[in-house]
């Protein structure tokens, strides 16, 4: 019942590839959505450049609803929606959809938290120079928060590796799927060990990359 490692390696490599694709795709889509939502959340705050109570409250409540739901439950809960959008609930693409939604709202909160820490005086200075709100968003808010933002995204990336393994257990593919089917259900400790080691390496790599990048942009 144990796997034959001479033929099993390609399977591991393929699964690692799937995991990496899931994480990167989610990070890209999640960042686009999450940064947009986070910025909107920040600028519509009270006394901010585009203050809007309604928009702020709706987004704020939405984030607070989505974020506390355990991922595995969320995954199953929105499977009908996933089928509608992706066409299936099995495989890498089907995992990316719910991961992106959860990631977007987490990233939105991270983005908002980082923007709040920008000195309001800097925003005031840009206003005093005659910069429009949109201009301030792209030329002041984002560049000023970039260093810590990258660290925040790194943190999210690490939890996405975790999510991808969870998605793998319910048909999502990737290392999680391999670990569950071979390591858990067939009691093959060696597969479990190898997948765990690969996951650890992925996390280390992501963290190293994030630290290096953020250091380049940190100017405080």
């Amino acid at each position: 019942m144990k796997v034959d490692w001479t033929t099993f390696w390609p399977r591991i490599v393929e699964s690692t590839g799937e995991t990496v694709v899931m994480v990167i795709a989610t990070l890209v889509f999640g960042s686009i959505l999450g940064i947009a939502i986070g910025l909107l959340l920040f600028v519509t705050r009270e006394k901010n450049i585009l203050e809007n109570k309604l928009v702020f409250q709706v987004l704020n409540i939405l984030i607070n609803i989505i974020r506390p739901i355990p991922f595995i439950i969320f995954l199953v809960a929105i499977s009908q929606l996933t089928r509608l959008v992706i066409g299936t609930t099995i495989g890498t693409a089907a995992a990316i959809f719910p991961m992106t939604i959860v990631a977007s709202f987490s990233i939105a909160r991270v983005v908002e938290n980082n923007l709040v820490s920008i000195d309001p005086g800097v925003i005031e200075a840009a206003q005093a120079m005659g910069a429009s709100p949109l201009r301030i968003i792209f030329t002041v808010l984002i560049p000023e928060a970039l260093g810590p933002l990258i660290l925040g995204l790194t943190f999210i990336t690490v939890s996405l590796i975790d999510f991808s393994a969870v998605a793998g257990t319910v048909g999502g593919g990737g290392l999680g799927h391999v670990a569950m089917t071979y390591g858990y259900q067939r009691f093959d400790g060696s597969v479990m060990l190898v997948t765990v080691i690969i996951l650890i390496i992925l996390v280390q790599l992501a963290q190293w990359l994030g630290n290096t990048l953020s250091r380049k942009f940190m100017r405080r």
């Binding site: 005086g121 200075a125 206003q127 120079m129 005659g130």
Partner: protein, 341 residues
């Protein structure tokens, strides 16, 4: 240049209303350095922000070059703001941009060409003496250097007006002096009208032409710096002036003087140009009275002299009275009463 007409700004803090600025009318003329002084919470910071509408007045009108700024559309307002430079206590530089990048920022808003921006930035760096720091980031600079960048950035678009929000309050005395010198140069060489707020009287004393004293949102006294300094009306103003020029010795010294049987002290105040007349000496000699300068100072204010001396006299009582009477026709002289100091 800038006219405040019955301007008030009220903030609502919960159920409480705070009158940050209360019915203020002021005129800042073109080419002036106008200083507003007040303790913290006096409303001066809000007053300053009414100029470029970072705060909107609750009632009243702010005119800049005879245009009601509150009537401008948001697009017109942004254009107007490019004509009003602003510097801050905490500099508010963009940490993610280099020194050159900070100065270039307002120029990019005007749509100037890349080469045009480059030339202007170099010119401004030379003006503030930071040509060698162009590629440094703000976190590599000292406080004084940061404020120089702030000034260069505020001047980038060649504004008519520069507003300064406690621009030297975060700096040490030496750096403060440097920055004040630079502001004076901005006013003199570039002809830029400056409106500044501060809680430090020496800032007013060193560079301002006009001053307004604010307390509880109201302007309690205003006028030429020389006039206000030499003849302050309001107690708060007097306290501010005491902070930069003590016109009495300490209570201890005064008491000791009196205990030792010291003579009556008279305060002589003279203002204006240096004269060749040896007034004190001539008058006292004429009445055969000796004078003794116990305490005092003569200082320059707005290129005029302002003297404040404590004097005692020795001689015949009648002669002293005659001396006083004659001196009164030439300078301000009055007895220092016991409770003073």
């Amino acid at each position: 240049m800038i006219d405040f007409k019955n301007v008030s700004k009220t903030f609502r803090l919960g159920k409480r209303e705070v009158h940050a600025v209360n019915n203020v009318s002021l005129t800042v003329n073109e080419g002036e350095i106008f200083g507003v002084i007040g303790f913290s919470g006096a409303g001066k910071s809000t007053l300053l922000r009414l100029v470029n509408l970072l705060e909107r007045p609750t009632t009243g009108t702010v005119y800049i070059q005879n245009i009601d700024v509150n009537s401008l559309s948001s697009k017109e307002l942004r254009a107007r703001r490019q004509n009003i430079g602003m510097i801050f206590q905490n500099f508010n530089l963009f940490n993610s941009r280099t020194v050159a990048g900070n100065i270039a920022y307002p120029l990019k808003l005007t749509g100037l060409s890349k080469q045009g921006i480059k030339n202007r930035v170099e010119e401004l760096l030379r003006f503030v003496g930071l040509s060698d720091k162009a590629n440094d980031f703000p976190n590599q600079l000292s406080g004084g250097q940061k404020q120089r960048v702030g000034i260069a950035r505020a001047l980038a678009t060649s504004p008519d007006i520069l507003i300064c929000d406690e621009a030297t309050s975060a700096l040490d005395p030496e750096t403060t002096a440097e920055i004040l010198k630079l502001l004076k140069k901005v006013n003199k060489d570039l002809g830029i009208t400056i409106l500044l707020i501060t809680h430090e009287m020496h800032v007013i004393q060193s560079i301002c032409h006009k001053v307004a004293v604010m307390e509880n949102g109201e302007v309690i006294e205003s006028g030429d710096v020389f006039d206000v300094f030499t003849n302050p009306q309001h107690l708060t103003t007097q306290r501010f002036i005491q902070s930069v020029q003590q016109d009495l010795p300490s209570v201890n010294i005064l008491n000791e003087w009196r205990l030792r049987g010291g003579k009556k002290l008279f305060r002589v105040i003279f203002k204006g140009d240096i004269t060749n007349d040896a007034v004190l000496s001539q008058v006292t000699q004429k009445h055969q009275v000796h004078f003794n300068i116990v305490y005092g100072s003569v200082r320059e204010l707005q290129e005029k002299l302002f003297g404040n001396l404590l004097i005692s006299f020795e001689g015949n009582q009648d002669a002293i009275q005659n001396t006083l009477d004659e001196l009164k026709t030439i300078v301000d002289i009055e007895e220092v009463v016991q409770h003073e100091g």
